[in-house]
């Protein structure tokens, strides 16, 4: 039994040592907002925060996370979808199919945590998430809009 801090709550959960955080979140904690896209940390659909830093949870063993570390998923980014990135995303209608967007939003929110003044160039360099619908242009605009709401 391991103890994790997820979205501000303490949860005790059992999992095999090699289970990636993604599958603990999705299958054992019912937090299905984080998505499986590739399983090899290539697409970013599984992005969550550990202590505010974006990580790709599909290759991050849950057993490597200590009790002190704070895990935040898309469900915990805000209580009501009011995080500046979420607000910007709604305003610009960023998502198309939307499957990659929880990961995209968490990646962007993580970037803005460490770099609140992120430019388009920063976004291009740091956000390597895959979106097959092709929302990139609105993602770029969304980052700049979110900055104004922080």
């Amino acid at each position: 039994m391991a103890r994790l801090h997820v979205n501000g709550q303490v949860v005790d959960v059992e999992f095999d040592d090699d289970t990636p955080l993604l599958w603990v979140l999705r299958e054992q904690l019912g937090l299905t907002g984080s998505k499986y896209g590739c399983g090899v940390a290539a697409c970013g659909a599984c992005t969550v925060h550990i202590d505010g830093m974006a990580v790709r949870s599909c290759v991050y063993p849950a057993s490597a996370i200590s009790e002190e570390e704070q895990i935040t998923t898309i469900e915990g980014l805000s209580e009501d979808g009011s995080h500046p990135v979420q607000e910007a995303w709604k305003e610009l209608d960023v998502p198309q199919c939307g499957y990659c967007q929880p990961g995209m939003i968490m990646a962007v929110a993580g970037m803005l945590n460490s770099n609140p003044e992120a430019t388009d160039e920063d976004t291009d360099a740091e956000i390597t998430n895959i979106c097959r619908c092709g929302t990139f242009q609105r993602v770029r605009r969304g980052v700049q809009l979110a900055k104004t709401k922080m």
Partner: protein, 728 residues
Amino acid sequence: MTNSISLSRRGFLVSSGAAGLTISFLAGCAGADDNTPAAADLPPNPEVNAWVHIGRDDVVTIRIARSEMGQGTLTGLAQLVAEEIEADWDKVVTEYPTPGENLARNRVWRDFSTGGSQGIRSSHQYVREGAAAARMMMVQAAANEWGVPVGECSVSKGVITHGPSGNELTFGAVAEAASQLEAPSDITLKDPSTWTIVGQPVARLDTADKVTGAQQYGADIVLDGMLLASIKAAPVRNATVASFDASAVEGMPGVVKVMQVGDDAVAVIADTWWRANKALEALPIEWAGGDRFNSADFEAELDEGLTADEAAIGNQGGDVDIAFAEAAQIVEATYNLPFQSHAPMEPMNATALYTEERCEVWCPTQNGEAALAAASRASGLPISQCDVYKQLLGGGFGRRGMSDYVAQAVLIAKEMPGTPIKLQWSREEDQRQGFYHPTTKARVRGALDENGNLTGVNIRISGQSILAGIMPQAIVGGIDIATFQGLASPDNPRTADQSLKYTFPNFRMEHAMRNPPVRPGFWRGVNANQNAIYLECLMDELAVAAGRDPLEFRLAHLQDSPKSAAVLQAVADRSGWGSDDGKHRGLCAFYSFGSYTAACAEVTVDENGQLKIDRIVAATDPGHAVNPQQIEAQVEGSFVYGLSAMLYGNVNFVDGEVQETNFDTYNVMRLSEMPEVETIVMPSGGFWGGVGEPTIAVAAPAVLNAIYAATGNRVRELPLNYRNLREA
């Protein structure tokens, strides 16, 4: 079923997975709540008709038959309905009827299939008529209530008003009475000039839950007592399972069952998907037979097709042989394009629950009725005892028009009656078990006279027929007419919306069908994607050979298609085509899926031959533009899809096995490669063209032509893979 559709099965209760927390919530539909205090004591309103339910709380629930996969059809179709019923857009929600309900009601919602950019263009008429009928019935019901002539009543934003008295009734108050009335037979649709919702850049109806993680996809479904399955089908086409050693993994944590699925697949069922997939990866499986296809070797067969005596002729005019015989100059080139995988972000999945009496499936599908048929076949139950609950798709791009994964889920569930089974493919399985966009080559030729006038065009495509692979009944006289998308004749009703818009004095479009043992599929944009490269790069090569401006050269042959000329001129004007600013630009115009599209790309190629796509100006004329901001989104996204293919897309088969099994080897475009796309939506009205696909065709040719402008080198083999473009 005369009342509101039962939501009990698709608004599923969610409970715990294998261990840990228990969460439950009801993913319901606001439209059926009828929960305002005043309405609390009354039974819910019946539907007005198949297209519209209006609650006593005035919430308008619009039934959407087509599948939403990101393209925005759900919002666009809802706009069409809301427009004709004169709804208050702020009170509109949507729901999917099920394919089973459609069959039970004599297909009242008609076709569920969602592909070919058909969502709106092939259903707008009957969808709007259904909505208009609902409005007329509600106005009639209000007039009856007041005992006044219908002609004295007007309707706006969900409120019916009797002019002389000023009396008002909301839709919610008359919906029940309206539902009892005969449907009108004489329906007049609104004139487009009076539209207030259609044509507006309204926000999508499905965004809010997509930014909070609340949006449920097929992959997210949890049912009580559900088990998880991971599957591996033969990695080589037409191979079968020879044997597998279940005992090697049966003792692994969480594993419940190891089973063969059909002739060619093995699945592991466990309490979590992670455990199921881990056991599957450890499971020894032996395969037998199969086609040990090598895509590298197949090039020789494609080359043979380029000059073979026999070829289907899809479209021709004049005498192209004389044109070439008498030409002062001939331009000839060979283009070579590889296999592509759809690679939607959500790998294939389906959840099935089988009992001896009933089979139910929850799945993302572009073709709900085909999924239902697949569930019936796989379960062995009559179709009336099956149903499919469609989920929002995490991408489709044509892949989810197929139902192979649905049948697999049902075959597994059938072995475990009463236990819901969620089958989730790994990304690797998704890449290996595709219906791939075919590889083709083309020999493109153009004839010029001594004055640089184009006298003949001949395109010989050599490659796989998609229809021969998956819809052989659509092959007529040995010709796959879809192969000629964008090059086809306007006189054939099957190809009028995919026809050649240039006027050439002499031309012949040919296809030498060469079918490899690879499953082909409709891949967003389909054959327009390669045909636009073949035609529009040839036009660029010809313009250069003729010493003419590529814009002027194209416009000179678009005299019979002013709409094509208009989109091309629009991108040229906006981009600064012809200006002396040192930028390198390339053009493309193409017509497909009933819409006129054009692009101008601006690129930089550095001294090391590295490409940067700086800017795209794109124009589209889809006739009626239902939601301009969503059209812009589709145009922007089309460049990501089309340029991903141009830059990276390539599926190689070695000894029958796909080599690119994940995004680390099947690379796609990222943000840093995304050019700024300026979209010009220029609806000329009077027709309904597609939006989701047609722009993809113009993406690669515009960039390839710009690369030529920058370097003097032609790229004729894709993917580009950032090779040195300074090397010829």
